[in-house]
Amino acid sequence: MSRSELSVSRWLEAHTDRGAGLTTLPRNAILTDIVGNGDYHLVITDLKLDNDTKSRLKVYKGTLMTHDQALSNTPNSVISFYADLNEPRIPVVGVACGSELFLYKNLKPFYKCKVPSCPLSEQESELWKTLMEKQDFNSEDIIKELKKIPFSLLSSRSQHILNLESPLKIEEYIRKYINSMPTKENVITCMSTIEKTTHDKYSVNCPIIGTEFGNIYILDPQNFSILHQANTCNVKATPFIIECSGLYDIEFRIIVACREGYICILRKGWLEGKSLIQITNDIVDMVLIPGDNFITVATADKGLHCYTKRGQKLWSATTTNSITCLCLVPLDHINMYMVAVGMKNGLIHLYHGRHLTDFTVAPDTPSVIVFGPVGQEENVMVIVTMGGTISFKILKRTADFSNRNHESVPVLQGKPLPLPKRSKLFLEQSLRERQSAVEIHQTFQQDLLRLRLTTARALVQNLSDQSGVGNEKENIKLSAQVLGLGPKFTVILTLENINPNKVLTGLSVTFHSNPIFYTLTTYIITVPLIPPSLSYKMETRVQETMSETSSETSVAELEPAGVKVIRVFVTRYDHPRPILAATINMPPTEFMV
């Protein structure tokens, strides 16, 4: 993304109310045409977790709150859907509180449906039945009986009894409720809707409910009876996000994210879902991208992952901050789906596929992001932050997302590396490794010590004649170059000051060569001051003396490898020891035949 693109934001800041004081969780905010006149309202729940204040259902018309009513219980999700084909088309708003679903039409409550409660375990119901018959009990016996049943299988009443401390309170509590059987509430954890027969803006939708005990219910939109019931997964899994695609009457897929890290799939006619993906980290949020049906999952470790509908991983990206919520941003006019990623500190990134295409900022960490029409405006992003601020951002109609720079992002390798087959030999060798691990380790350590000694010796050898490419203590580096085909050569020496702070002064370079082989133009060069991190180049011309005798008489004086050399010493004025020495292997003169 170029800088010029970034300088002008694609978003208009429409309204921000820092004093709204809202506490809203993901999936508790929707944009819906609540009165049926095409004027979209924002419907949110405002959670109050204190005992004395009740949570509220609030409706914003534009940026103004027009409606505010109390809810009986803590809400956990809000949906809206068209229940029938009657004109005018007014959607039903559903608010799940506890195990009940409250349905509102025209902002007036008109129906309440309750999720069937779970059957009690046999032992527990037996216990309570006897209590009801006898009307007489010993609280210690009851505690003992209840403790035999796993805690998680108990009804909330029995769990409460186990949590009470004094026997007196227990007795009082039991007396209070002795005439009724306890029930095991199946609390609603999440909701969604699925289109029933057609894909249409105004099509009839069926609500889907996920509960604490892992049940998924699909309800009839007219009489709210259960159309289909299924379990989320074959293992214990608590759904907390439901996303769906397809049509209820034809074929559908329900993707369920569970608190345990599973992502399960449920299709038409299935009584039990199948685990599709298992994520080791906690799932923060999930969206299903329409069209491709790609599942985009945000995890607690700043990860954003994308999977196909079959559960194959497509890509992973790491965000800069931890993710708090996701929101699908459908842009119908350019046929594009993006995902808004809300992160800690208020940054909101927009991803198209795996590419980061845009960003915007919220006043603080966003808690919920919704995108859709508000009032007459088509594309509005509504953000409710953790601090209670509500903020409206309008996407400019001229916003252009087409010129994205794909090259800046490296392509993640989707396929695993092709590894060769594990050979039989490998297995044999690994067997040997396992059997004599101690011996192998000891030998290796001994050899390593020996290697250190050899290395140290060789280094001392080099240190004594100061050969090497550089002197790290003095921070200088020397490199040499020989140009020419011979018998005339040019030797270029580069002396580099590696130290970034200090200058090099008082150096001189001395050349040493056998006069039988070479004559040099200069033998001593005084090096001027070398500023930090710069280098100094010097050159000397070398003439090879081509006498017949030289080739025969002085074979013994050649270097062991049989090459002729010129030695270079870098010295300080006052020190007799060179600080750096190098040997230049001179190439033999090329005879032109």
Binding site: L425, F426, I440, T443, D447, Q481, N499, A582, N585, P588
Partner: protein, 455 residues
């Protein structure tokens, strides 16, 4: 015993020096004894004979090469372009020497002469050279030294036209001139006269002419001669010489098709298959190359080159344990070189046979006399040190590598990385820069420098 018979026997038993002595004494008595003269020539030739097929080739002077077909050949049709742009194969990029030769367990003809590069490169670098011309001169002088009383044959006084007509003498004389004297011009003159005399019917002379032509860099003429010789008599040597000529002309695809043609005439011939395997490897097709090497091993279970190359293939295919087996086979066949021990050490390291690793490297160090090989051993030892988690030792090893070979670009790069990790970015930068200077085509230093600049 008849001295002539004794000399022949000694020649057969390869006691060339003794054979030459006896021939000399015969010739002292009878200076015109053609048999002794011929035998002495052959003995002298054999004494210095170098298999010029398996020896190094003459370097190609790029500047003066008038046979270059295209300056920007299409991918896969040239051997020269591969050295600069290493394509990523399934095996990933293999390490190469400074001249772009894939590092393998064996030294092969034509792979070492590349070291100095072209004359143009020489103007920039500081490497020594070993050219064919220099070798020929060295051989000549070495032969001369042993003869105190002047050369055996005064070539300039030789009546070549006379000897070219004597069928029994012309071939030994040619070989003497070509191999012993290194006098290619006179040898060629003799070959021209001889082939004229036998009315161009003897394929031998055509091959010899081609040898002379290619030594004089007249490659297209050499190609013509061999083609015509092959028509008369298909011979493995002729095929291989022609293949070499195509490689010199940088036409690997024609060379490969010629190899396949040759294999139809001589099915499963080891030398032609070796050429084919080398060619495919040079074209970066390791899979097909290793296929040919495998068929070579089926024919000749003692072929060191093939075994070592299969080992190398397995090593870079992430199967060091298999590579180890092949290199051990080479070792048990009697090879004893620092490179082999170095490879064994690396295989041991990567197949987790740690107790043998350093023993192998120690041997390699002890055997390595060539500073370049010593540098490579120290370079590999730095990897052992890194694997053992001793960064200090690794830095020391790399420093020693650079002492042995101050132009080792990979060592500079690795040293820079290690220094950067130990918190000396300015040092790292200097080393990266010198790595890039020494081998600009190496991708790592450039990328690392960019990273350093961004940071």
């Amino acid at each position: 015993m008849d001295p002539m018979y004794l000399a022949l026997s000694l020649f057969r038993r390869r006691h060339y020096d003794k054979c030459i002595d006896i021939c000399t004494s015969i010739l002292d008595k009878q200076p015109l004894d053609q048999a002794a003269w011929c035998l002495k020539m052959r003995a002298l030739t054999q004494r210095v004979y170098v298999d010029d097929l398996e020896s190094e080739e003459s370097p190609q002077d790029d500047v003066l090469d008038e046979n270059v077909v295209a300056s920007a050949p299409r991918p896969g049709t040239s051997l020269k372009s591969t050295s600069t742009a290493v394509p990523f194969t399934a095996l990933g990029a293999r390490p190469r020497t400074a001249t772009g030769r894939p590092i393998s367990g064996v030294v092969r003809p034509g792979t070492q002469t590349g070291r100095p590069g072209s004359a143009l490169d020489r103007l920039k670098t500081s490497r020594g050279t070993t050219a064919q011309s220099a070798r020929a001169i060295r051989l000549g002088t070495a032969a001369m030294l042993t003869q105190k009383d002047g050369p055996f044959i005064q070539v300039s006084r030789l009546n070549l036209a006379k000897y070219a007509k004597i069928k029994t003498l012309n071939k030994p004389l040619f070989e003497y001139l070509f191999y012993h004297e290194g006098d290619i011009r006179n040898a060629m003159e003799l070959a021209v006269l001889a082939t004229q005399h036998c009315e161009f019917k003897d394929w031998y002379w055509k091959i010899q002419l081609a040898k002379c032509y290619s030594a004089l860099n007249l490659i297209r003429d050499a190609e013509q001669q061999i083609r015509s010789a092959l028509k008369q008599h298909p011979h493995i040597e002729s095929y291989i010489r022609l293949i070499r000529i195509y490689i010199r002309l940088d036409q690997p695809l024609s060379a490969i098709s010629l190899c396949k043609q040759g294999l139809e005439v001589f099915p499963n011939d080891v030398s032609i298959m070796t050429e084919l395997a080398r060619l495919t490897e040079a074209l970066n097709e390791p899979q097909s190359s290793v296929k040919y090497y495998r068929s070579i091993v089926i024919e000749d279970a003692m072929n060191t080159e093939a075994i070592a190359c299969i080992g190398m293939y397995h090593f870079y295919n992430n199967q060091p344990e298999l590579a180890l087996r092949y290199y051990r086979r080479v070792l048990s066949m009697g090879a004893h070189s620092p490179e082999l021990y170095n490879n064994l050490g690396l295989c041991c390291l990567y197949s987790q046979q740690l107790d043998l690793t350093l023993a192998c490297f120690q041997r390699a160090l002890d055997l390595a006399t060539d500073p370049l090989i010593k540098a490579d051993v120290w370079y590999n030892l730095s990897y052992v040190a890194i694997a053992a988690g001793d960064i200090g030792l690794a830095i020391q090893c790399l420093n020693l590598c650079l002492v042995a070979d101050p132009t080792h670009a990979s060592a500079f790069n690795n040293l820079a990385v290690l220094h950067h990790r130990s918190g000396k970015p300015h040092l790292a930068k200097a080393y990266f820069t010198s790595a890039r200077e020494h081998q600009p085509e190496l991708p790592e230093p450039g990328i690392n420098l960019e990273v350093l600049q961004d940071a």
